[in-house]
Symmetry: C2
């Protein structure tokens, strides 16, 4: 039960990552697979958020998760234990991000038969992952309350490339100088069309809104 | 009062960063300047910690700060306003880390006459900054309680290269599943000689221990 597949991914062979990402996205479209690239700082709550969310949607659509980490397989094991869905670990061998070629290696290691939604939990890093198109249909990120509402000012590219920002750990809002309205304003400066959803992965508050958003996205990707 | 010097740093011209870092460290030794490279995730409290600490030591030694960020100058301005010491902003132009050549460019822009201690606040990132020797005498990092005590498992290199780990935001320990003993154990796995100091930059608790450590380090660097 505690065993998960661990893939040691190699540096991408593609010279042009944008082209490789475009090809991968077309293939995913043809197969009806929605790939979400989830990014954040270390410790913002990606894995806990995924567990809550997957348990809300796993009876409606088929979900698989690819956990990227420099080392360890704690996240993939946690996801598998807590949700029962397919979860594999991608080891980046020290690399600070995933590109389209590396993402493809992960997808090829998922069980055949497929998933409607594959979630890629990228390396915890607000800088480099934003620079590489993974081939995902959508980029999302988690900003946790303890990190501060000024992060869109300091990490502009990350917030520019994400169409969804989950503001996590809202249960500790009383203990931190974090203003949700100011945060929304900062996010809008970087990406006017980005949606902001406040959640608390620990208590589950707001996670239903993220789950509903995901179901809509997957349905639209399959039909449009 | 709100104006700080902003340096747009260029990609390093040095092919061999380790050699360049070694040369820089020797020069700093000759000049009696202690350079501390402070790293962490985004939002772990680097700037707040520095303000508290600098106000405890600025009457004893001459301190200057170099704030590295991809964009914005909010941190350098904050430091200058709250401490009155020299504080400059290094813009990395999207780069996720600093190397020795970039650090040298920053040092050359500090006011002549010198400082006993220069603190480099590196880009908020637990991955890439750990891979590049900046020429600093010592690497230190801040791990904040909300990030979780498992971070040394996931970001092994960062914890291997740091001889000091400040565990910040201890005031919110009751609200998070963070165990200080388990954290110390994880840090020791990566670097048996690393010192761990729990602090709360917001309230000031524990910051005196960090300040005392810094004063000792600077004195030893100047005399040994």
């Amino acid at each position: 039960m505690d065993e998960v597949k661990i893939i040691e991914i190699k540096k991408s062979v593609y010279a042009d990552n944008d082209a490789a990402a475009g090809v991968l996205r077309q293939e995913l479209k043809a197969r009806g697979v929605y790939l979400l690239n989830l990014m954040s700082s270390p410790g913002s709550g990606k894995t806990t958020t995924l567990i809550r969310t997957i348990n809300l949607i796993k009876d409606k659509i088929r979900v698989a998760v690819m956990e990227a980490d420099i080392d360890s397989d704690v996240d993939a094991v946690k996801i598998k234990q807590a949700t029962g869905i397919e979860s594999i670990q991608l080891h980046t061998g020290g690399m600070c991000h995933l590109d389209a070629g590396m993402t493809r290696q992960g997808l090829e290691n998922l069980a055949p038969g497929g998933a409607d939604l594959v979630i890629l939990e990228n390396v915890g890093n607000l800088v480099c992952p934003a620079e590489f198109d993974t081939g995902a249909v959508c980029n999302a990120m988690i900003l946790s309350v303890p990190e501060g509402d000024d992060k869109p000012l300091k990490y502009p590219l990350m917030f520019s490339v994400c169409d969804l920002v989950l503001v996590n750990k809202t249960d500790v809002l009383p203990y931190f100088d974090f203003d949700l309205d100011r945060c929304r304003e900062h996010v809008r400066m970087r990406n006017p069309k980005a949606r902001v959803i406040p959640i608390c992965a620990k208590t589950g508050e707001g996670v239903d809104a993220f789950a509903a958003w995901l179901l809509e996205q997957v349905a639209a990707w399959k039909t449009n």
